[in-house]
């Protein structure tokens, strides 16, 4: 036998290792909030860890705007680029510990990573759905995720966890399916979007809609792709997910002085960084999905069906909540998290809240920030202890 380590052996011991996506098919129609119906749908997902005999240790990870089902581990252990988007948080010994929990991550409907979405074939016209894909809401996602939980045989989740748009899904879960969520972790989240937030999303959408390769959303049928528009949309989004101080630190803008060379270095670095990120994203994401996701964000407002009373919306929730915000997040600012916390307190719900110092703005929720991860670890460990008891 050769002593050469296989690629798997080189994967860190706190990694879930090499994972393969799976999919589930649903033949019962799914009716959206707006009345549109998907006759059938597919959900791509991955799981990490083992479901216990009582089926009580399942944790659902809800993804944000550009996320998907590949949250942890590698698809190819020799290629770091195939690392899951939340690998720093999910794995053996990590804050969401796969020794304790059966972790489920999926790609939402309307997504572009294998679940039914605008790039899927519309059986009625035998062409990709494109712009005809029904507009989904956070509530629709949660309904589809509940069907997915049935499929997996999970009556209730030990925790539903999400950052940003993912946190909104966790909140909606706690409101719509109180008996199926024991803990809801809302990270860098908001009870609805501010006018400024909606404005940013609208500019991003306009960049896509005005791209000459958009073809009213039928670009796939036209063998085209509005990559410039999508890239611009991403650049705008990306900047709003960072903080001013964080960018200064990254690009050396804090050392600005009268020497123009330094100044142009900053300009050059910012330009190439943004272009790189925009182009990279546009090459692997679907423009119609981006439109759909931002519309879902804009429309999220669980209080609306309760006379705009968030407290009333949360009255039925029985989950325990953990709310975490980040000091420099101006897209989903700490004040917005505090609104959720205050409403939960008024509704008599169990809630804990922490505001984590970070220079990384909204993106902080994806990063390995020591205090943030200690908070998650403390909270999740206590859930795991409750399961063992």
């Amino acid at each position: 036998m050769s002593q050469t380590a296989s690629p798997q052996d080189q994967v860190a011991s706190d990694s879930v290792g090499v994972v393969a996506p799976q999919y589930a098919e649903f033949d019962e129609p799914l009716t959206m909030e707006n009345g549109a119906t998907l006759p059938s749908f597919r959900l791509m997902y991955e799981t990490y860890g083992k479901l216990n005999a009582d089926r009580t240790n399942a944790v659902l990870i809800c993804h944000a705007l550009s996320g998907h089902h590949h949250a942890a581990g590698y698809h190819d252990p020799n290629d770091r680029r195939t690392l899951g988007w939340w690998d720093n948080c999910i794995g053996p010994g990590k804050p969401i510990d796969t020794n304790d929990f059966f972790v489920v991550a999926l790609n939402n409907i309307g997504g572009c990573h294998g679940s039914t979405g605008p790039t899927s074939n519309n059986p009625e016209i035998n062409e990709p759905y494109g712009a005809d894909f029904p507009q989904v809401t956070v509530g629709d996602w949660v309904n589809s995720q509940a069907r997915f939980a049935d499929y997996l045989g999970i009556d209730s989740f030990a925790a539903v966890i999400g950052g940003s748009l993912g946190g909104m899904q966790a909140m909606q879960w706690a409101i719509d399916y109180p008996e199926r969520v024991r803990n809801a972790l809302l990270i860098a989240c908001a009870p609805n979007l501010s006018a400024q937030n909606i404005a940013f999303n609208e500019i991003a959408r306009q960049a896509i809609l005005k791209d000459r390769n958009f073809y009213d959303g039928r670009y796939l049928a036209a063998a085209s792709n509005p990559m410039d528009g999508l890239g611009t949309a991403r650049m705008l989004g990306h900047v709003t997910y960072l903080s001013a101080d964080g960018m200064d630190l990254k690009f050396g803008g804090d050392s600005k002085n009268d020497e123009t060379d330094d100044y142009y270095d900053v300009v050059g670095e910012v330009t190439s960084y943004l272009q790189y990120n925009g182009e990279k994203f546009a090459g692997m994401f679907d423009a119609n999905t981006y439109l759909l996701m931002t519309h879902a964000l804009d429309k999220f407002d669980p209080a609306r069906s309760f006379d705009n009373d968030l407290v009333a919306a949360l009255k039925n929730a029985t989950a325990r909540f953990l709310v975490v915000s980040f000091s420099t997040d101006w897209r989903f600012a700490p004040e917005r998290s505090r609104e959720i916390v205050d409403a939960l307190i008024s509704a008599g719900c169990d809630v804990s809240y922490a505001d984590v110092e970070s220079l990384s703005g909204h993106d902080s929720f994806l990063l390995e920030i020591p205090r943030y991860h200690r908070i998650l670890t403390s909270y999740m460990t206590q859930i795991a202890e409750g399961l063992a008891a």
């Binding site: 205050d342 307190i345 008024s346 169990d350 809630v351 809240y353 200690r374 460990t381």
Partner: protein, 198 residues
């Protein structure tokens, strides 16, 4: 302050809604939950203490008490507790008013600055007292509003706050005959259960 915690656990009604300002690692709330099935929240600002609360499943809200308690609605708690924190608050009188707005009753404990050892250090040593209960030098103490039992009584009277019960503890956290007789001289820590004016 085990003694103070025991008294609080005795006086809190079963299923009460409790707010514990400066809750530490959630020890009191944890005991209250076990013995009285209370619900409620701790308020804390120190990071490791917040994590301590989370690890034992105690609700904790990261919040700076000095920023005020506006976020808590009127009458939202049966009892609001503040253990050994009043002296470090920038506006203690406003805070007591706020505690009695949010809660039906409140419990406040604080170190008695007129304890004879403090008096001795000030009188004979001519220096600000430093002791087990007040361990900091004047320049780095968080305790910016130290007061005596007489001072606190005077404020309660001026504010028309009802003193439901008062306990005064010695250096071992015990309430004894001497601390009852000469509270403002022999008392190390004061414990007040306060109510709204009748």
């Amino acid at each position: 302050m085990k003694q103070a915690d025991d008294i609080i656990i005795d006086l809190v009604n079963p299923n009460a809604r409790v707010l514990d300002l400066g809750c530490g690692d959630g020890d009191l709330l944890c005991r209250l939950r076990q013995t009285k099935s209370v619900t409620g929240y701790g308020v804390e600002i120190e990071h490791t203490r917040i994590e301590g609360c989370l690890a034992r499943g105690v609700n904790v809200i990261e919040h700076d008490i000095d920023a005020g308690l506006d976020r808590f609605p009127t009458n939202s708690f049966d009892i609001v507790i503040m253990n050994e924190t009043l002296q470090a608050i920038s506006e203690p009188r406003t805070l007591v008013r706020e505690m009695l707005r949010i809660g039906e009753e409140c419990v406040v404990t604080f170190p008695n600055f007129a304890y004879w050892q403090c008096r001795k250090q000030l009188f004979f040593g001519g220096r600000m007292p430093v002791s087990k209960h007040l361990p900091n030098e004047w320049y780095d103490t968080p305790n910016i509003h130290l007061c005596t039992i007489h001072d606190f009584d005077t404020m309660c009277a001026a504010e028309n706050v009802r003193v439901i019960t008062r306990h005064v503890f010695d250096q071992h956290g015990r309430e004894t005959f001497p601390t009852r007789m000469l509270p403002n001289v022999l008392g190390v820590t004061a414990f007040y259960r306060l109510g709204r004016p009748t």
